[in-house]
């Protein structure tokens, strides 16, 4: 019985969230893409990579990539540390 | 004209993969599900290749190759585990 109440509670919260997303989100927003347009037009010249995604990933936003590698490094270290035999 | 035909093929293939999905969900044994997974990998690779021809971007074909390789690896991993199950239980 308790479980049923809990399920209903969860469902109601999720449905409420769904309604909020449904009304809060506007799919037809006019988009302003000054930054991206610059990437598309100049990215090839400025970084030398034809693949613009690569040029953003490793050129313009390479610091993010550094952070991401650090995330991977610490994950690997912690998995090794956690599962190491004593 | 071509584009239409190619897209029709894509649509047919995706409807076909619906059947494989049914097997994945329904399949009484895990092996059945794996068969479904195998077939889905094949069909989706076909869809990707056709779509790449359709988009006129041959560069996209790398994705299909990666997809094929990794589908194979995942199937081998899962069936390896299925085999090892008797040792565990």
């Amino acid at each position: 019985m308790n479980r049923w109440i809990k399920n209903i509670l969860v469902l109601s919260v999720i449905i409420a969230l769904g309604i909020i997303f449904f009304y809060g989100f506007n799919a037809h927003l006019p988009s302003k893409l000054a930054v991206s347009n610059h990437y598309i037009t100049e990215g090839e010249k400025e970084t030398g990579a034809i693949n613009i995604v690569s040029s953003i990933y490793l050129g313009y936003r390479a610091f993010d990539t550094l952070g991401e590698t650090i995330v991977l490094l610490i994950t690997v270290s912690s998995v090794v540390f956690l599962l190491k035999k004593n | 004209m071509d584009i239409n035909i190619l897209e029709t093929v894509i649509i047919f293939l995706s409807i076909n993969s619906l059947i494989s999905l049914y097997r994945v969900i329904k399949g009484p044994t895990p092996q059945d599900r794996l068969i479904g997974l195998n077939l889905i990998v094949a069909q989706v690779t076909a869809i990707m290749v056709i779509a790449s021809v359709n988009f006129r971007r041959p560069i996209y074909l790398d994705v299909a190759l990666v997809y094929a390789i990794l589908g194979y690896i995942s199937i081998i991993a899962i069936s390896k585990y299925l085999k090892g199950r008797k040792l565990h239980e």
Binding site: N51, V53, L58, K85 | V66, I73
Partner: protein
């Protein structure tokens, strides 16, 4: 995973396939700036190749070939190189992670020297990381 358990077909096919998968991973890494792919994706494919080797030849043999210690060292070394590259950029190009190579014309194929280098570093690092995660998750059942 004892020896009798292993399928000969899978083992032989994987034996012939793994070098090609690794090569494909390196292709993805080194052509990351020209076609889809890049450091991370290629690294994952490298890792998946080694995982396939583990699955088909057993983890002991693979670990003998690619020992855990060395791979861990490779990973730490690569991340250090990444940061060092950034610092070299700071000295040469006056900004952290700045481009330290001259940009050539785009017609020549592998132009983006810096992107290429970073892709290589990241790819090796990601591959090493994934193999390490797999090793350490597998480790306990062997005992």
């Amino acid at each position: 995973m004892e020896k009798g358990e292993r399928s000969e077909i899978v083992s032989i096919i994987s034996r012939k396939l793994v070098p090609y998968i690794l090569l494909f991973g390196l292709y993805l890494i080194s052509y990351g700036h020209l076609s889809p792919g890049g450091g991370f994706q290629g690294g994952v494919v490298l890792g998946a190749g080694i995982i396939l080797l583990c699955l088909s030849h057993g983890i002991f043999l693979t670990e003998k070939k690619f020992p855990l210690e060395k791979i861990a060292f490779l990973e730490a070394f690569m991340i250090t190189i990444f940061i060092l590259l950034g610092i070299v950029g700071l000295i040469i190009a006056k900004s952290f992670l700045g481009n330290i190579f001259p940009l050539k014309k785009i017609e020549e194929v592998p132009t983006a020297g810096f992107v290429f280098l970073l892709n290589l570093v990241i790819g090796l690092k990601v591959g090493a990381g994934i193999i390490l995660i797999f090793y350490s998750l597998c480790e306990r059942s062997e005992k």
